[in-house]
Amino acid sequence: MTAVFATMRTAFAEAWANRTAFWTQLAAMALNDIVWVVFWVLFFGKVGTVAGWDRSRVLLLLAVITTGAGIVLGLLSNARRIGQLVADGGIDAALALPVRTLPFLLVRRVDAVNFGDMLFGVTLFVVACSPTPQRAALYVIGSAAGALVLAGFLVLVGSIAFFTRRSEVGDLGFQAVLLLASYPVDIFSGITKTLLYTAIPAAFVSAVPAKLIDHVTPGRLAELLAAAAVFSCAAVVVFTMGLRRYTSSAIWTRA
């Protein structure tokens, strides 16, 4: 654990070294998120409600997903790059170290631009989502669980590269889960909706936590925590299985 924290500290120092770039990227991402708020305000200004979702509920969904995605893509930045690292032979450096490979890879790189997401998510929740002590606690639990589902899914699809030696599935999975999690899940129906609760768990990244904050039930909370546990465990298992097949490409610098 000490090695993992030390690695994370180094990654932070690396990102913080160029402070102008750090703050510029953070502000750019926050501005990017503000555009989505403008979109949803304009959209619901025009249509009122859609499939039970209105402006305030979608802003809550946006707060949850930006917080969760900010945690994963900011603090565990390599989660989205597992496929590329594997396909390029870029995890060699990690294998030579006396630490567990997956935790090391995940904390090795932090991405300043996604701290903007995290900061934006927290601000949006405080400003636009009627925070109370209970809602704030559920927001923390929901965002953390959503982040676990997202990190687990990204590692899972990235690890497919161990078996296929191509990283495109991981890239597409990354784009798909974030995109689908950015919209109210109830606009979908049938097979698509089922997929969002299973193969591409976008519903657990944003919509389920947002519903939990609005209306907490033990069943919904258990469902979310179970999804977080399942995707985290599946990620570790598939990554470990894939790592046994990994062959070096003698690249030492990309992890």
Binding site: T24, M29, N32, V38, L42, F43, V47, V50, Q175, F188
Partner: protein, 259 residues
């Protein structure tokens, strides 16, 4: 531009087509994005008497598949990639060639986009037809096809003009985020221009972004308005001239810095 521009575009197009997995990933991403956003708007139209901002659910579906195709056909991070080439000095090598740097880049990128554009359009046509029904006006839909090419050309020219700022600010990494959002909102990619509030609609009309997404989308939605193609051509001339001017000024500055 003489014969080298079409030759560069053809060559880039052939190279891009030889990587079917990259094209398939771009098309897969396009299919997901366009399906999600069109489902959202179609659901909204159904819930509100069948129309939003003067578009029916069917029209909105065709609108959004074409708006997305016009934008997804391009490299998302084109501004960042061009900016990196400027900042790293890699562009200095291109200045040794006896052709315009930005001209060759525009021709090459345009060619590279074509396989993705063709694939996205084919998939978009199929999905729009399956999810909502046949096109509202076939003649307008046919006009949307050349309009897609003009939209991509306008977008590329604007992105190069935007990325040229890297000659002065030495960083274009965050700029693509902001540019992309301008196309999303002021280009009416996510929300039809007619649904924008008055002040934002006026701003969109005064800026070039509508030429990059709205025009092919509006035509595909069944509005037979050929004058929109003239609007795109006008903006293409303006944006192309802006890109050439920015690069010409920047290249002089790069020589001073040393490349």
């Amino acid at each position: 531009m003489s014969a080298w521009a079409p030759a560069a575009a053809r060559s880039a197009s052939r190279r891009a087509a030889r990587d079917p997995i990259a094209v398939a990933v771009a098309v897969g991403f396009y299919a997901i994005v366009a399906t999600v956003i069109s489902t959202l708007w179609r659901t909204a139209a159904t819930a509100h008497g069948g129309q939003v901002a003067g578009y029916t659910g069917v029209q909105l579906t065709w609108y959004l598949y074409f708006a997305e195709a016009a934008v997804t056909a391009l490299q998302q991070r084109q501004i960042e990639m061009t900016g990196d080439d400027i900042v790293s000095g890699a562009i200095a090598v291109e200045m040794l060639r006896p052709v315009s740097v930005v001209g060759l880049r525009l021709a090459t990128e345009f060619g590279r986009c074509l396989p993705r554009l063709a694939a996205c359009t084919a998939i978009g046509l199929t999905l729009a037809w399956i999810t909502s029904g046949p096109p509202v006006e076939v003649a307008a839909l046919l006009l949307a096809l050349p309009s897609l090419l003009l939209a991509v050309a306008c977008n590329l020219a604007a992105q190069h003009a935007f990325a040229g700022a890297a000659f002065w600010v030495r960083d274009a990494r965050s700029a693509w985020f902001l540019y992309q959002k301008l196309v999303f909102l002021l280009g009416a990619m996510l929300i039809p221009a007619e649904a924008l509030p008055g002040w934002l609609h006026s701003a969109a009309l005064a800026l070039p972004f509508l030429a990059m997404a709205y025009v092919p989308a509006r035509l595909a939605a069944g509005h037979l308005e050929p004058q929109l193609l003239l609007l795109q051509m006008g903006w293409l001339v303006v944006l192309g001239a802006a890109a050439v001017a920015v690069f010409a000024a920047g290249e002089r500055r790069l020589q001073v810095v040393g490349g």
